[in-house]
């Protein structure tokens, strides 16, 4: 996925870009509205993350122009303002969602995901491994002409494995990606979700293998 981040704080922008990069997304950074317009004119983005208070203007004006130009790229507003009345104006102006700073990255990711799902399309995001097809938009796993629905965490877990088959993921790494940092979870919570996934993969060409003392990996059944 390719995102555009419009944010004037260089440190925050760098951290957000880095954090998205960890999940395999490419993020372009615009420091102001002029930059943002230039980026939007030349590149097709899947999603725009927009700050409101910018040195060269109000992000809401950009949003209004963006919608007037019939540009359909979804916009999530990053706002430091928390008054509900502000939120209502934002949604009226055509923002798809908003996140109040400071944001929980897991929540931001979830909101991006929800907005992209609502947007529909993007069938090229389907992943296939050993005859099993993962459709992240529909949250389904299809093998042998039977589809199974995935709950949110199952989907995120299976996405991690499908994006890098055969790579070993440690429990710690998986926990970081599955749970919000503000949640208290024990390590065997991962075992629960891996167990569920194994059930859903039963009878297909793929399975999740335990690599003793290292973690898990996705492999084709022999």
């Amino acid at each position: 996925m390719r995102f555009l981040l419009v944010e004037d704080s260089a440190q925050l922008a760098r951290a957000v870009c880095e954090r998205f990069a960890l999940d395999g997304h490419a993020v372009d950074h615009a420091t102001g509205l002029n930059d943002a317009s230039a980026f939007v004119d030349t590149t097709n983005y899947d999603l725009i993350l927009l700050d409101i208070m910018l040195p060269d203007g109000d992000g809401r004006d950009f949003l209004a122009r963006h919608r007037q130009a019939k540009n359909k790229t979804p916009v999530i507003v990053l706002t430091a303002r928390s008054q509900v009345s502000d939120r209502i104006t934002l949604l009226d102006l055509g923002a798809d969602d908003y996140v109040t700073k400071p944001f929980d990255f897991a929540e931001l990711e979830a909101r991006c995901r929800a907005v992209l799902r609502r947007q529909g399309g993007a069938a090229q995001n389907r992943l296939e491994f050993a005859g099993v097809i993962l459709d992240p938009q529909e949250a389904t796993l299809t093998a042998n002409d039977t589809s199974q629905n995935l709950r949110n965490r199952e989907l995120r877990l299976v996405e991690i494995f499908f994006a890098a088959p055969a790579q070993i993921f440690s429990k710690n790494h998986l926990m970081d990606r599955l749970f919000s940092l503000s949640e208290d979870v024990s390590e065997n919570a991962i075992e629960v979700y891996v167990g569920r996934l194994r059930k859903k993969l039963a009878g297909t060409g793929a399975e999740i293998e335990t690599v003793r003392s290292l973690g898990y990996r996705l492999v084709a059944r022999p």
Partner: protein, 463 residues
């Protein structure tokens, strides 16, 4: 608000001053009326006395060198027409009494004055008014100087005078009362514009910060101008503090967001679980402070809006659906399903949509926060005879503590939630929003075979 203790009353002062003036005028009126009337009465007596004396003088004639008089009785009877007063007379010819009372002596000038001379003196124990008319009567030998003195007691005049005094007093009192009544009316109508301005300011709603535009007399214009400039300053100070809150939020939240995101990135790269735990605690502290800041701002906003309460027509069903949609990504993160149960009917309500949305979001946000993963939150739209009831039941740990309603108090949190970030303001905000709409919040622990938990019900009165 402290009430002002009034120092004196303009209306009372005005009435007292006008009444004193009326009293003074009444006294002057009394004195003038009595003076004029008594003068008129006295003049009447004098005129009759003069006429009487003159008619006696006209009856004088000379006969055989002697001055003779045939007293015309009409001369004395005309004096009886005005009162029952006694009448005395004396006619002197060259100092000798011709007829009448010998001891009746009245002051008279020497010679022959053209005009009758009047005087007042005591005679036989009574006040009398006397007139002297002097004539020269010619006989063959010489001219005789004849003085006619006619006197009358003043009892009738005193009677008339006391009647006049009574009348003057009556006129004075009547004038005083009429003038005082008029001054009351004048004071009231002079102060009426002041009351009108006060009424115009009192009647306006608490959020009405427009300038006062009431029609007012010139004297009140400085007061209204001062009031308007105060309103203007208040308005700009309110705007400034709102701007300040927004600006402050931006200044605080952006660096917090940077720290939090960087901490997350570092957390991902760390291997040692001890370091990971420390960083996690740091992130929680950031969450806690940002959440508290957010809730404090929300709380201030709720108080602000509840103070200047303004309503519009709202569909609670739609509001609920929006709230659920807004929070579903957060719920999905924990595989929590939000199930909506709708008992049908209309859910139209007059309220402040921003306040209500804030309240519903707070309740649902709480429910998600305290729900375990893979659980359900049931949202119910129902109504009883008097209320719309919006309830949120989760399968979490429920409310702990002896008195559940304590949770609605500011900064009071349950005894079983130390491991979860919270400000203790969420339910306080919800409670304040409910009160502002004439409703209430009920918090209970429900027992459901599939798993009990907390249930928050938001009651709003039917329109």
């Amino acid at each position: 608000m402290t009430s002002l203790l009034p120092k004196g009353s303009m209306q009372r002062r005005l009435v007292i001053q006008l009444s004193l003036i009326a009293l003074l005028l009444s006294l002057v009126l009394f004195v003038i009326v009595r003076g004029v009337a008594e003068r008129a009465a006295a003049d009447t007596q004098d005129n009759i006395l003069a006429a009487s004396a003159t008619s006696i003088a006209d009856a004088l004639f000379a006969e055989g060198g002697q001055v003779r008089l045939e007293l015309p009785y009409s001369a004395l009877s005309m004096l009886g027409t005005i009162s029952e007063d006694r009448v005395f007379y004396r006619v002197l010819v060259d100092g000798e009494t011709l007829t009448g009372y010998d001891d009746l002596v009245a002051k008279a000038a020497l010679g022959v004055p053209k005009q009758p001379e009047f005087s007042t003196f005591e005679y036989r124990g009574e006040q009398v008014r006397a007139v002297v008319v002097t004539r020269l009567v010619s006989s063959q030998s010489h001219q005789a100087l004849v003085r006619i003195v006619v006197a009358q007691t003043r009892l009738g005049l005193v009677q008339i005078s006391s009647r006049i005094t009574l009348l003057a007093v009556a006129i004075g009192i009547a004038f005083f009362f009429v003038a005082t009544g008029l001054s009351l009316w004048a004071a009231h109508s002079a102060l009426a514009p002041l009351n009108r301005v006060a009424g115009a300011v009192t009647r306006r709603g608490p959020s009405d910060l427009r300038a006062v535009q009431t029609q007012a007399p010139a004297e009140l214009v400085p007061l209204i101008t001062a009031l308007n400039s105060l309103i203007e300053r208040l308005k700009s100070s309110l705007t400034r503090s709102e701007d300040f809150i927004v600006e402050a939020a931006h200044r605080v939240r952006t660096p917090l967001a940077t720290v939090r995101t960087q901490a997350e990135v570092i957390h991902r790269g760390l291997e040692k679980s001890k370091n990971k735990t420390a960083l996690r605690e740091m992130i929680r502290a950031i969450d806690e402070s940002s959440r508290s800041a957010g809730q404090l701002l929300d709380h201030a906003m709720v108080n602000f809006r509840a103070d200047q309460f303004q309503t519009e027509a709202i569909d609670l069903r739609k509001l609920m659906a929006e709230t659920v949609e807004r929070l579903s990504p957060t719920a999905e993160l924990k595989d929590i399903s939000i199930i909506t149960q709708d008992q049908g009917g209309d859910f139209d309500f007059d309220g402040d949509p921003i306040l209500l949305q804030n309240a519903l979001r707070n309740i649902l946000d709480n429910a998600i926060k305290y729900s375990p993963a893979d659980s359900n939150i049931t949202v119910t739209l129902a109504r009883d005879a008097h209320n719309h009831i919006l309830s949120f039941a989760d399968q979490g740990r429920g409310f702990a503590g002896a008195n559940l309603s304590d949770h609605l108090q500011r900064f009071k949190r349950g005894t079983n939630v130390n491991d979860i970030v919270g400000s203790g303001l969420g339910l306080t905000i919800v409670d304040e929003v409910a009160r502002a709409h004439g409703g209430l919040v009920e918090i209970t622990n429900h027992t459901d075979p599939k798993g009990g938990g907390a249930c928050v019900s938001f009651y709003l009165p039917l329109v």
